[in-house]
């Protein structure tokens, strides 16, 4: 429970922070501070259990079949990191309170900061690898948001994008690696993976998985060759750099490496990949840091270098190196975060971070200078500070890891060289900023910052000192717990001490100190502020990244230019063509052979029916341009023929539905025809240019080819024996247990009711969209006038009929009487179809469409005003009721503890009537019915109402005549 709280608390805080007003700087800081210290306190409260060597677990199963669960797991190592993340968080929050300017929108800052804290804690506490990937991605996203916090600055946007792409790519790679790992082990649980080390290392997927994992880890921890994103991420506010990009997020990579170390390490490949990447970063980072001008850039490259040191330690395949790595993760977090904070203070108080402009600040800000001085000493590895301890452990390990060959000389040499550079840049950082003559011409006059800003940095430096002088007393216990959690029985003997005697590593430390000082003196005396690092400045993945970026964008643009056209006709041609190609591909090998199933004897009536249908279809194709009404009638005829075909071939439900839909569609399009332009104006410039003719013949050939193909495909299919395995199942189960004779209807409202629910939702949404679109409808100028037939009184009724008249006047009087008589009958028929749907052709769709047709007949003969003065229909209410009824029918199953939409039967014994058999299926079908009525009416009425809207003449002298 405590574990869940530790992860949840920051996310809840993030939500709260997002809701606070923009000026609530103090409230935000208090909130974030309480959340961070709360997490730390919760973690601390678990200390007794952790110290006893227990693992605290919380598991909430989700999809156990797929190995997915919410699994939080805290052992000693996770405990140490939890404490690091939350304590650092608290200090950074305090610092940020004073660092952020009142003009900055702080809710966004604190909200994302806390979300990041939650995600980072999620990584640390994940006991399930998939879950870990999710939190890993969350840290990438929050980091993106925080780097881009000042999004008006181009470098912030650029840096954020770069970080997001690099770490996001790493996240994908991690997901792949984790999936492979899960497949190898057979479980995504961390416990199982850690227990299956031998299996994993022996598996043939191990190399591929390890490369993917290394890519993920090296991107996240800004290691060579992916390190280039970290310096660009320095565009973030300094608290973010201190927290995410030195203390915690970039540690996620090395955290995971150490986490999986017991299961994955110990192979040659591991050594070369991890140790190699770390060594390259260690040296490159240290050398580059020496030549930077921006204080934050120095720290960024130094972070790359120190993370390289940790990675290298992890790659050495030695238990002692692993302990040293964990120790250095802690030490680096303390001194680097305090240095970032000091940099932020300098930036805040002087207005610049440029090393070549800053000088002699120790006079104006002695406290800051002291703090930074000590922290930089720890970074350089000066004795009596914590950096010295872990660095010496590193030197010791580097002497042993290489063995006796050339590697045995190369590794210590490389470590020593990096140590030299690290001393040089630390010295430069302190000397140029705080020593020398007081700087002139700074943007602001430097002075000591407020105490709140200095306090977090000072506390961290105090930590550096205490750990450095009394390692065993301060962190010895915690480190032992973490090491024990990682290594268990393999835990070797080690001793945290300042003095190990005169050893080779001590000698290396002093050589590094002396060499670094000498290097700095040489560089300083030469006095050239080198703009770029000699030799190695081009050695970075950034070039590759940029080239890749540009290539992808160019390629995409070129592809769009060639494959995309603004013109719909071209697009449709491409789509249909692609579909045709997709259909042809499977035929490439075998060709299309017709089957040999016996043909059913030809019925001349049916042939005649389709002769008429074909004539209508072709006629519609030819006539749709100039004779729309004719085309519509012919398409309606095709619909009728289709409907008859359904009836012919044993599909009464389809026939009914097709018939009713055809009626409604035709009415709908008829209503729409009124607003289309007259065709005459386009008849005159009939430009049968060669190009147009070519295009038409191309389209015709294409259409015919498609038609022939479809016919051949249909014939090939029809002449093969049917092999439906689903059909018999539904037939078998329709009557018992589903309790319906009409199998099609049973499928729709019972077996596949979820599909139907989705479908009616779509229909409802479409109706609302149609309504919404028509609300803002602006008819074209020349179709505003009342149609000629109505204007000259040739037909009565219509949209403008007098609503007070008993019956509409004019030719439609008798149809109106009949139509009114029809309404109750049609309603009755529709309910009849609805009720019998489960056992005989019918159902909610058909019933609903029948009622909608009857209603629309009223509109057609009476006119909208006349009908609505007598009968108020609220189609939206029908839609809502329909959806509610369908969902209620689904929910009813819950009361019987069955899954959603399971059919429920209720037997009611009523006096006089006898037993009433009620089923939730009927309620569901009623929902379909109501919704279909509502949707069809809403669309039709919305369209019909267009002619009622006061005609706004946009062009007074517009064409005077009928639109139709």
């Amino acid at each position: 429970m405590t574990l869940a709280l530790i992860v949840l608390l920051p996310f809840l805080g993030s939500l709260c922070a997002a809701c606070l007003p923009a000026s609530a700087r103090n409230a935000e800081a208090w909130l974030a501070g309480i959340v961070a210290t709360g997490c730390a306190a919760l973690a601390a409260s678990l200390f007794p259990e952790i110290a006893a060597g227990h693992v605290v677990r919380l598991s909430i199963p989700w999809l156990p079949q797929a190995g997915l669960e919410l699994y939080l797991r805290m052992d000693g190592y996770a405990w140490l990191f939890t404490l690091l993340v939350s304590v650092m968080g608290a200090l950074v929050v305090l610092y940020a309170r004073y660092y952020m300017s009142p003009r900055d929108p702080v809710p966004r800052f604190f909200s994302f900061l806390m979300a990041f804290m939650g995600s980072m804690l999620g990584i640390v506490l994940s006991g399930n690898l998939i879950q870990l990937v999710v939190f890993w991605e969350l840290t990438s996203i929050t980091s993106f948001m925080l780097i881009a916090y000042w999004y008006h600055r181009p470098e912030a946007r650029h840096g954020a994008r770069m970080a997001a792409i690099v770490t996001g790519g790493g996240g994908l790679s991690l997901l792949l690696a984790v999936l492979m790992l899960g497949q190898i082990v057979g479980s995504y649980s961390l416990d199982d993976v850690l227990a299956a080390g031998d299996l994993i290392r022996a598996h043939r997927w191990y190399p591929a998985m390890l490369v993917l994992l290394a890519a993920a880890v090296l991107t996240k921890s800004a290691q060579f060759p992916f390190h280039f994103w970290l310096p660009h991420a320095m565009a973030a506010p300094t608290p973010v750099s201190a927290y995410l990009h030195s203390a915690t997020m970039v540690k996620a990579g090395v955290f995971l490496l150490a986490r999986l170390w017991p299961a994955l390490a110990g192979t040659e490949l591991w050594f070369w990949l991890i140790c190699g990447g770390g060594a390259a970063s260690l040296l490159l980072g240290a050398a580059s840091a020496t030549f930077q001008r921006d204080m934050k850039a120095v720290l960024a490259y130094s972070t790359v270098s120190h993370l390289g040191l940790i990675t290298m330690l992890l790659g050495m395949n030695s238990e002692l190196a692993l302990i040293a790595a964990v120790f250095h993760m802690m030490n680096h977090a303390t001194f680097k975060a305090s240095l970032f904070m000091a940099t932020g203070i300098v930036d805040h108080e002087t207005g610049t971070r440029d090393l070549s402009r800053l000088s002699g600040l120790r006079h104006a800000m002695p406290l800051t200078a002291t703090v930074a001085f000590v922290a930089a000493g720890a970074m350089a590895g000066v004795p009596l500070l914590n950096g010295f301890l872990s660095k010496e452990m590193f030197f010791t390990e580097s002497l042993q890891a290489g063995g006796t060959g050339g590697l045995g000389i190369a590794l210590p040499a490389l470590a020593g060289l990096a140590g030299v550079f690290s001393v040089a840049y630390s010295l430069r950082f302190i000397h140029q900023v705080f020593f020398g003559p007081p700087a002139t011409a700074l943007p602001r006059t430097p002075r000591e910052p407020t105490r709140g800003m200095l306090l977090p940095s000072a506390l961290l430096v105090l930590g550096c000192l205490l750990i450095g002088m009394l390692p065993e007393r301060t962190v010895g216990g915690a480190l032992a717990i973490a090491a024990h959690a990682l290594l268990g029985d393999r835990l070797p003997d080690y001793r945290l001490a300042i003095w190990h005697g005169f050893t080779a590593s001590l000698l290396m430390s002093f050589v590094a100190l002396a060499g670094g000082t000498a290097l700095y003196v040489v560089l300083y005396v030469r006095g050239r502020a080198l703009r770029r690092t000699p030799l190695i400045s081009r050695l970075s993945g950034k070039r590759g990244f940029d080239v890749l970026n540009v290539t992808i964008f160019r390629g995409a643009r070129r592809f769009v230019r060639t494959a995309f056209s603004q013109r719909l006709q071209v697009q449709l041609l491409l789509i249909v063509g692609a579909a045709a190609v997709a259909a042809l591909l499977p035929l490439w090998r075998g060709g299309l052979a017709f089957g040999d199933a016996p043909l059913t004897p030809l019925d001349p009536t049916f042939a005649m029916l389709w002769l008429a249908g074909a004539i209508c279809a072709v006629g519609a194709a030819v006539q749709a341009k100039f004779h729309r009404l004719m085309a519509l009638i012919m398409v309606g005829c095709v619909g009728l023929v289709t409907s008859l075909t359904f009836a012919w071939f044993s599909a009464p439900d389809l026939a009914l539905t097709q018939l009713t839909v055809e009626v409604i569609t035709t009415v709908l399009i008829l209503l729409g025809l009124r607003w289309l332009p007259r065709r005459i104006q386009f008849q005159e410039p009939l430009r049968h240019t060669l190009r147009a003719r070519l295009r038409r013949s191309r389209d015709a050939a294409f259409a015919i080819a498609i038609g022939v193909g479809m016919a051949a495909l249909a014939f090939a299919m029809l002449t093969r024996p049917g092999a439906s395995r689903l059909g018999p199942f539904f037939l078998q189960n329709a009557l018992e247990p589903a309790g319906g004779r009409n199998v099609v209807n049973v499928i729709l409202v019972d077996f596949r009711a979820f599909d139907t629910l989705g479908e009616i939702t779509v229909v409802g949404i479409v109706a609302l969209v149609v309504y919404a679109l028509l609300r803002r409808f602006r008819p074209a100028a020349e179709s505003i006038d009342v149609p000629r037939a109505q204007r000259e009184g040739l037909i009565g009724g219509g949209a403008h009929a007098d609503p007070r008249a008993l019956l509409p006047e004019g030719d439609l009087k008798i149809p109106a009487v009949l139509g009114r008589l029809l309404l109750p009958l049609a309603a009755l028929v529709s309910v009849y179809f609805l009720l019998r749907g489960h056992d005989a052709p019918g159902g909610g769709f058909v019933g609903g469409l029948i009622l909608a047709t009857a209603m629309i007949v009223q509109y057609m003969v009476g006119g909208a005003l006349w009908v609505e003065s007598r009968l108020r229909i609220h189609p939206q209410v029908w839609i809502a009721l329909g959806l509610l009824a369908a969902v209620a029918a689904g929910l009813a199953a819950w009361f019987a503890a069955r899954p959603f939409l399971t059919a429920q039967v209720l037997e009611l014994h009523a006096p006089l009537i006898g037993t009433v058999h009620l089923s939730s299926v009927l309620l569901f079908d009623l929902g379909v019915y109501l919704l279909v009525v509502g949707a069809a009416l809403l669309m039709l009425v919305a369209l019909a109402h267009q002619s009622l809207r006061s005609p706004r003449r946009e062009l007074p002298g517009a064409v005077d005549g009928a639109a139709l």
């Binding site: 249909v576 030809l602 389709w610 749709a624 085309a631 004779r741 074209a780 005989a840």
Partner: protein, 115 residues
């Protein structure tokens, strides 16, 4: 019968594709209606053509026998397809009208093409 059915699917598809590729919105609308009917018929044909074998059980004959009842699955699929097709047609019609009102033309691209 199979030949007629297959030809019907072919003719509807050809007319539909031809219309879909035409420049006027109304033509495209009609094209979609025809094309969806062709598709519906095709999917329906997946259950093979059966006379007098509506999948409505009488409770006496053995149910799970496709020689006695037509396959209900394609029918259920097509029934939903018909209704969704109606919704799509309605939506397309309104978009067509809105396009016409906003651009003053019924060309699919919102302006007369140059060619």
């Amino acid at each position: 019968m199979e030949v007629v059915f297959a030809l019907a699917v072919g003719v509807l598809s050809a007319s539909g594709v031809w219309l879909v590729l035409r420049p006027r919105t109304f033509q495209v609308l009609m094209g979609f209606v025809l094309l969806s009917q062709a598709t519906n018929l095709f999917v329906f044909g997946m259950g093979r053509l059966a006379r007098h074998r509506a999948p409505i059980l009488d409770g006496r004959t053995p149910a799970a026998d496709l020689s006695l009842y037509a396959d209900p699955v394609p029918q259920a699929l097509v029934l939903t397809a018909i209704v969704i097709g109606f919704a799509t047609t309605a939506l397309f019609l309104v978009v067509l009208l809105a396009l016409r009102g906003l651009t003053g033309t019924d060309h699919v691209d919102g302006r007369e093409s140059d060619a």
